[in-house]
């Protein structure tokens, strides 16, 4: 079943001087695992932001679950319930500790505080940070911060997980562990997983790889 459809998506910056996305047409199946690969500055992050309803195109359409995002007034419910976004830069709140950061998306969830804590701890454990759950982000290493961001993105069981270079700051071993967590959630709740990477080995783990360059799709293939 089709989950996401992009038609003629154009995104420019600096008054047209930079074309980050140039006429992208794309369809992504529900429950699939897709990797996006390409050189630095090719438009990978910009594309992921469109898919996660964090940004809107200058022209063209973004349709998720049959809904045209441009016609939605308030996307906050959609973001909170459907999307788990892992930023290239982790974007944790510096004043909150690990556990509090992970619990932010559960703020409005209809569950008891105890259940929220339990849910958060499950994911903190999964990314291997149980012993650091009371630490502030500035006391963590870059890789640890990225793992907190992953736990935060997954905690409300999103139907779409968008990860921008989730393993970029990590060594190979930790990177694999993180990917395992992502794949585990993808498989266990049948979430759609879209991962941006510049690492071909990581890209190969996905069912499908989309290669982009200069804001255009230059290659789109299945890995098995």
């Amino acid at each position: 079943m089709e989950l996401i459809r992009l038609t003629n998506v154009l995104k420019q910056y600096d008054g047209g001087a930079v074309t980050a996305l140039n006429n992208i047409n794309l369809s992504i199946e529900s429950g699939s695992f897709v990797s996006i690969i390409g050189p630095s500055g090719s438009g990978k992050s910009t594309l992921l932001n469109m898919l996660g309803a964090l940004d809107s195109p200058d022209s063209g359409q973004v349709i998720i679950n049959g809904v045209d995002l441009a016609k939605q007034k308030d996307l906050s419910d959609f973001r909170r319930q459907e999307i788990g976004f892992i930023f290239q830069l982790h974007n944790l709140l510096p004043n909150l500790n690990v556990q509090e950061n992970v619990e932010i998306p559960l703020m409005d969830a209809k569950m008891s505080e105890k259940d929220k804590h339990r849910r958060a701890l499950i994911f903190i454990e999964a990314v291997g940070l149980l012993d650091k759950r009371k630490q502030k982000p500035n006391k963590l290493s870059g890789g640890e911060r990225q793992r907190v961001a992953i736990a935060r993105a997954l905690v409300n069981f999103p139907s779409i997980i968008l990860a921008d270079e989730p393993t970029g700051a990590l060594d190979t071993k930790t990177g694999r562990k993180v990917l395992d967590v992502l794949r585990f959630v993808h498989e266990s709740i049948n979430a759609t997983l879209i991962v941006v990477t510049h690492d071909r080995d990581v890209a190969k783990l996905a069912e499908r790889t989309i290669e982009i360059r200069d804001g255009q799709v230059i290659n789109d293939y299945y890995n098995r």
């Binding site: 932001n49 809107s56 308030d74 419910d77 973001r79 909170r80 974007n91």
Partner: protein, 333 residues
């Protein structure tokens, strides 16, 4: 400020002060003693007394603590009440003697008290009593026998005549009658005097309002600046919260709440600090001429403005930030 000025002004005994209007040629015109009896015959005048005022400028400013110089009033001892002096601590000077009663402020400035001698126009006067009227001019002066002052300053005249009106009489009418009857005099009723003082108080009040206003304005700019900076620095945080799915309204409510707490706290701390500094300041200056008056109006005004500008300074940038696409807000560092 208004309150503190008013406490230093209370009414003297006489309702009308008569002085010579032909004040030409440097030497202020004096009045003949016979004029006192003339005035007593004016309708509705119950009493009148002559008063001579002579001042001696200090030989050098460094020698005298009172840069105004020494002011001596000569008056009949039995008519002191017309000069507004009702309570004398000690005893009153004898007529024709070299005794003086002095104001409390005079004592303070010259460090003298009852029993001490003070020198005026080359004569020694013994302080026999002190008084306090609350009027700075009088409390800074000495009162002696009129005859003595006339003798040592070589005059037979008086500088002003203090007129008491009959009970129930209209002071303004009596004052007008005096001016009509005697062309060369000017008169000043106590109510005219106090309205003149009211004008001064009004000016002081306007000045203090302007100062408070300026202080509040400067404070407001500070509050707006702080809030704008605080929220600006949090634009990224707003981006994070938006990307995780927080509603703009919820983000704004949170920032509004924080702004209120912040501005209320700073208002309270500011008020406490303000009072402390004012109290310490007035003790350091060591004056009792002014007393500190706190009007609720000023505090409410300052508080209200703090909170309003805090909200404007805090919520407006927050509102703008909440309207940004999450990715744009996230780009702020």
């Amino acid at each position: 400020m208004e309150e503190s000025v008013q406490t230093t002004f209370n009414e003297g005994g006489a309702e009308i002060t008569v002085t010579n209007a032909t004040n030409i040629g440097g030497n202020s015109g004096l009045l003949d003693m016979s004029f006192i009896d003339d005035l007593k015959n004016v309708t509705n005048v119950s009493d009148a007394v002559g008063q001579l005022s002579v001042s001696e400028s200090p030989e050098s400013y460094s020698q005298s603590k009172n840069i105004m110089g020494n002011m001596f009033y000569g008056i009949n001892a039995s008519k002191l009440n017309l000069a507004g002096i009702s309570d004398v601590n000690g005893s009153i000077f004898d007529e024709n003697s070299f005794e003086a009663i002095v104001g409390v402020r005079y004592c303070e400035l010259n460090n003298v008290s009852i029993g001490d001698n003070i020198t005026f126009l080359g004569h020694d006067f013994k302080i026999v009593g002190t008084f306090e009227t609350g009027i700075v001019m009088k409390d800074n002066a000495a009162y002696i026998s009129l005859d003595t002052l006339q003798n040592i300053s070589d005059t037979q005249e008086v500088s002003s005549i203090l007129v008491k009106t009959s009970e129930g009489a209209n002071d303004t009418v009596v004052s007008q009658n005096i001016r009509d009857k005697y062309e060369n005099v000017s008169t000043l009723t106590s109510s005219e005097m106090s309205s003149m003082l009211d004008d001064v108080i009004g000016i002081l009040d306007t000045a203090s309002l302007a100062i408070s206003g300026l202080a509040i304005f400067v404070g407001a700019i500070g509050v707006v600046n702080t809030m704008v900076m605080t929220v600006y620095e949090r634009t990224k945080e707003i981006g994070v919260l938006k990307s995780i799915g927080w509603k703009s309204k919820k983000i704004l409510t949170m920032i509004l709440g924080e702004t209120l707490v912040l501005t209320t706290l700073s208002g309270i701390i500011g008020s406490i600090l303000g009072i402390l500094i004012a109290e310490i300041g007035i003790r350091l200056i060591g004056t009792n001429r002014f007393s500190l008056v706190y009007t609720p109006k000023t505090f409410i005004l300052a508080f209200g403005i703090t909170i309003i500008v805090g909200i404007i300074g805090g919520v407006y940038p927050a509102y703008k930030a909440s309207k940004l696409a999450p990715t744009e807000a996230l780009r702020y560092e």
